[in-house]
């Protein structure tokens, strides 16, 4: 129903296309640009959008930013980095936004990161996980909210090191995210437990996994532990083929992000059991701040929040916090305010580190289980992101000086 109404609104907007050329000239608003891959991966970006829309509503309901209304101009990049850069140009030079936020895919995040550096514009990368975003390709104008590949892999490695498995096989989609997720886990686990061995790796093409053959190849290597970073449709196929062919029987499975509702919900009763995962057990968190968020979200949308919802919500909290702290929309003021910015969120206090611009937003680590025909996380604990970041010296070495 909601979607249909949205659609009518869209058509209405199309009719009023003339408005395209004339941005609202109101002086009592602060404009923020937001870019994401809404049509490429709606399963992930729709909850994200709902999350930040909720935050914007709440921020404006409680007086906006110093009395000014927060206006978010949100655009779809269609999954193309070049498009994202073009949109960033428009948001900055034509719409005059104070800062940019968003992006999901790492390569789009990186493209906008580079744009931010070149154009001296603040960019808060909300969802991309790539470590390069704040380290190898980091720059003064880019900050990242979500716990990165390195952080989540470290959380998993810390738990995996406690398990007896020594011979590991990995499976990850064949692109930068998958490669990073595997490399980070290998590095972290080897550091904690030098006698582990990685005996097999599989790299199915993203969203094109030939699950049967891949499962057979993993099985043939007879690993004790399996580390998985596939997601979306690949994960569903992998889980189905793997369980049918007994791949997971008697093996430890560590799985990146698989505890997030985006990944677990579609699997329903077929969700894997006993996998060690990072994720978001929104149903059991129970802290007052989080309960408030969940209630507001469910009231507004009639559905439960997903990880994207939380990330989107926290993104706008960060935006509001930095605008309030800086008290201006000047980029240099905003960057100064961003460094070390702390704010409270449904997932606890978050700080943007001055040293590498990575936030300390954490994640939940636990085991998967099936409850009432649905995949859930059990035996989880909250891993504060601050505890899973490399030392300052290491960071300084990775990050270019500027």
């Amino acid at each position: 129903m909601m979607i249909r109404r949205q659609m009518l609104a869209t058509l209405g907007a199309a009719v009023l296309a003339a408005a395209w050329w004339t941005p609202a000239p109101a002086a009592d608003v602060i404009k923020v640009g937001e870019i994401n891959s809404y049509t490429r991966l709606p399963a992930f970006t729709e909850p994200y959008k709902k999350g930040w829309e909720l935050a914007v509503d709440e921020i404006n309901a409680s007086g906006g930013i110093g009395g000014k209304t927060l206006v978010v101009i949100s655009r779809d990049d269609g999954g193309k980095p070049g498009n994202a850069v073009k949109i960033a140009e428009e948001l900055v030079s034509k719409d005059g936004v104070a800062l940019l936020a968003g992006t999901f895919f790492s390569n789009i995040g990186l493209a906008v990161t580079d744009f931010a550096k070149q154009n001296k514009t603040l960019f808060i990368a909300s969802e991309p996980l790539s470590d390069a975003l704040v380290w190898a390709k980091g720059n003064r104008y880019t900050f990242r909210l979500r716990p990165s590949t390195y952080m989540q892999a470290s959380m998993l490695a810390a738990e995996a090191a406690k398990l007896p498995a020594k011979k590991w096989a990995t499976i990850a989609p064949n692109y930068a995210y998958g490669k990073d997720a595997v490399a980070a886990f290998k590095k972290a686990l080897t550091k904690l437990k030098p006698d582990v061995e990685f005996i097999e790796e599989q790299w199915p093409a993203l969203f094109k996994i030939d699950a049967g053959a891949t499962v057979r190849a993993l099985e043939a290597a007879k690993p004790e532990g399996i580390y998985n970073a596939t997601f979306g449709g690949d994960l569903a196929k992998f889980v189905r083929e793997g369980s049918l062919r007994g791949l997971f029987d008697g093996r430890t499975v560590v799985s990146f992000l698989s505890g997030e509702p985006e990944y677990l919900d579609p699997l329903k009763a077929e969700a894997p059991k006993g996998w060690l995962v990072t994720g978001y057990p929104w149903y059991d968190i129970g802290t007052a701040a989080h309960e408030t968020f969940v209630k507001a979200y469910q009231a507004k949308y009639g559905e439960s929040p997903k990880t994207g919802s939380l990330v989107g919500y926290n993104t706008m909290l960060a935006v509001a916090a930095v605008l309030n702290k800086a008290g201006s929309t000047d980029t240099e003021d905003l960057v100064t305010a961003m460094e070390g910015l702390s704010f409270d969120s449904p997932s606890g206090p978050i700080t943007f580190r001055a040293i590498d611009h990575q936030s300390t937003m954490g994640a939940w680590v636990g085991r998967t289980a099936v409850r009432d025909g649905k995949g859930v996380m059990v035996d989880w604990f909250f891993a504060d992101g601050a505890n899973y970041l490399p030392s300052d010296d290491e960071v300084m070495k990775m990050r270019p000086a500027n």
């Binding site: 979607i3 249909r4 949205q6 659609m7 609104a9 869209t10 058509l11 907007a13 199309a14 296309a17 809404y38 049509t39 709606p42 399963a43 729709e46 779809d76 269609g78 193309k80 980095p81 070049g82 850069v85 073009k86 428009e90 030079s93 034509k94 390569n107 990186l110 493209a111 580079d114 744009f115 550096k117 070149q118 390069a132 390709k137 064949n174 692109y175 930068a176 599989q202 790299w203 199915p204 093409a205 094109k208 030939d210 049967g212 053959a213 891949t214 057979r216 190849a217 043939a220 979306g232 449709g233 196929k237 189905r240 049918l244 062919r245 985006e262 919900d265 579609p266 699997l267 329903k268």
Partner: protein, 620 residues
């Protein structure tokens, strides 16, 4: 031993799914010659419909298979409806124009599916009675895989019977070999086409529906399957169902065993196989050479005319406006117009081989991307400046086009197009995989213009001069003996040969020239965006260029420019809305029906001949 048998069976099960999609595509192409991009969408719809119907029907074996069949039939009806309501109106458009319409259908179906079924992946039930695994030689094999291994050949047999034991099948086979003959035999051609669309779409729907016990139903299914479906169809030989089966088994097995040796190979394996097959057998494994054409399929292209006074005045006005743009427009408009100029050059370079040369490329983004990467790599790895980078862009693309072109010009028609696609996918996979040099899909960053061209205005002028200059140069070449010879080769290779012209060598040179100009566009693009990623080389980017050329009008020289301007502006505007794809798709479909000769061709038809230099004469 058991392990290899199990792997073999797994490969066969994958092959069965591939075969169902590809067979439908092959039948549709064989009879109607339509390159149907929407075939993947039919596959996706089949899966979604089966997912929904299986919840409604009573659980059990009958309910499951009933929903699979019902989904296939509904998709068949949808396909037939699209044929009747849409494609039938544009059969007389220039060759390949119908693919623009199917592209519009893809966009519409994407958003309609999102609207009806939502964004979240859907995991359907397993097949009742086939939800376990059996042990063969000690290895667990899913029962459903065994069912698929039976279904594939069974469908093949069914199609064979349909083709060889019914009058309809005889007609379809006849039409596949010689379309005009069927018309001459007095067969109701529109009925035949509609029925073929029904069968082909139903097979795609069936392919999707039988996937629900294996994979999550998702919005990415359409684009994920369409490239593979084309590859299998082409390897087998367009129009040959048995060939499609053979090709599906080949790909399925190579994939199953390939990942044991070299897991990363999966991203490009199918395309490598296709390239090798096409080089060895230019019409696929079991395909036949296309019947010699007797006159062009669509309307005749009019002779070239030198620009008339009014046309030159118009062009001068546009150029003058572009030249003063920095004084009258904001910075973003400069960026947007710069993008349009780059894409116009890109589209013009594609039109050069496609319109003038009759060599359709489904992989032209390879040369755009090679140019962009060529520039970016000398900047990144050799510390060169923008000037050398911009010089390197056409050189790198030209070398790529020289290499791939040598193979491509030996083929013709859709096979040539698919070989260009394979070439592009090979380049893409190298850029994607060779992380140390190309940065993989994290791309190369920080490729900004030199300091003197750093301001948006200066860079805009650079783009304007090089793009407009490139487009003008291409136009001159088309009007020069080189271009005339290329057109001549497209019109009649027999006659060209009989007046002493080395057509293949000429086409090779044209392919390289097109690559050079696409590379220049790529070089300009990378410095305007500051970064480059493998998506520049990927299929969607090639398709964009194809749509620009066809939408603008393949039979007019202004077509690619008009197409690039309309497409880029439209996309820039439309993507501001939610559910923009359905609007975009609907606009494309409307253009298809109103202006089957493309926007520029349509405009020329409306303008008086005095302005366009065209002489109106009715075709024979």
């Amino acid at each position: 031993m058991g392990f290899y048998v199990a792997q073999f069976l797994t490969g066969l099960a994958s092959a069965a799914s591939l075969f169902l999609v590809a067979s439908g595509l092959s039948i549709i192409f064989g009879v109607t010659r339509i390159v149907n991009f929407a075939h993947g969408s039919f596959f996706m719809l089949g899966a979604y419909l089966a997912y929904t119907i299986v919840q409604v029907l009573p659980h059990g074996i009958l309910g499951f298979w009933g929903s699979v069949v019902a989904a296939a039939l509904i998709v068949g009806v949808i396909g037939a409806a699209i044929e009747v309501l849409l494609l039938r109106r544009i059969y007389h458009a220039p060759e390949l124009f119908q693919l623009v319409a199917t592209f519009g259908v893809v966009l519409v179906i994407q958003d309609v599916t999102l609207w009806i079924w939502g964004a979240e992946d859907l995991v359907g039930p397993r097949a009742p009675g086939l939800d376990g695994a059996v042990r063969i030689l000690g290895e667990p094999i899913p029962e459903y895989d065994l069912a698929l291994i039976v279904i594939g050949p069974a469908v093949l047999a069914g199609i064979w019977l349909l083709f060889n034991r019914t009058r309809w099948g005889t007609l379809v086979r006849a039409a596949t070999q010689d379309r005009e003959m069927v018309g001459a035999l007095g067969v109701n051609q529109s009925w035949l086409f509609t029925s073929v669309f029904f069968v082909g779409s139903a097979l795609a729907g069936l392919g999707g529906a039988i996937q629900i016990p294996r994979e999550a139903v998702s919005l990415l299914m359409d684009l994920n399957v369409i490239a593979d479906a084309f590859v299998v169809t082409v390897i087998g030989g367009m129009g040959s169902v048995a060939g499609a089966f053979l090709a599906a088994v080949l790909i399925g097995e190579l994939n199953a065993f390939g990942i044991l040796v070299f897991p990363q190979i999966t991203i490009v394996l199918a395309f490598l196989v296709m390239a090798v097959v096409l080089i060895v057998r230019p019409w696929g494994l079991l395909g036949r050479p296309e019947a010699p054409q007797r006159g062009a399929a669509g309307p005749l292209e009019a002779p070239l005319r030198a620009a008339t006074g009014p046309a030159m005045a118009f062009a001068a006005t546009v150029l003058a406006l572009l030249a003063v743009l920095p004084w009258i427009a904001d910075e973003f408009t400069l960026v947007l117009v710069g993008d349009i100029l780059v894409f116009a050059l890109f589209a013009a370079s594609l039109h050069f081989i496609m319109g003038t040369g009759g060599m359709v490329s489904f992989g032209h983004a390879a040369y755009f991307g090679l140019g962009a990467y060529g520039a970016a790599l000398v900047v990144k790895h050799l510390g060169a400046g923008m000037e050398l980078g911009l010089l390197m862009a056409p050189v790198a693309a030209g070398i790529g086009a020289l290499v791939f072109g040598w193979f491509c010009v030996r083929l013709s028609g859709v096979y040539l197009a698919m070989l260009t696609l394979a070439a592009a996918q090979i380049v893409w996979s190298i850029a994607f995989q060779w992380q140390d040099v190309t940065g993989g899909d994290d791309g190369l960053l920080g490729i900004w213009p030199a300091a003197w061209a750093g301001s948006k205005t200066v860079y805009y002028y650079l783009v304007l001069v090089l793009s407009a200059g490139g487009i003008y140069t291409l136009r001159r070449i088309v009007h020069a003996p080189f271009g005339y010879t290329l057109r001549a080769g497209r019109d009649s290779s027999l006659r060209v040969d009989a007046i002493g012209i080395d057509l293949r060598g000429h086409q090779w040179m044209a392919f390289t020239i097109a690559g050079v100009f696409a590379g220049l566009a790529g070089g300009l693009y990378v410095f305007s965006k500051g970064s480059i990623f493998p998506d520049t080389l990927a299929i969607p980017h090639s398709v964009d260029a194809l749509i620009m050329v066809l939408l603008g009008g393949v039979q007019t020289l202004a077509g690619p420019v008009v197409g690039a301007v309309s497409f880029t502006l439209l996309e820039d505007w439309i993507t501001r809305f939610d559910y923009w794809r359905i609007i975009f798709g609907a606009i494309i479909l409307a253009i298809c029906i109103l202006a089957p000769e493309g926007i520029a061709g349509f405009a020329l038809r409306l303008l008086p001949g005095r302005l366009t230099g065209r002489v109106e004469e009715s075709a024979r």
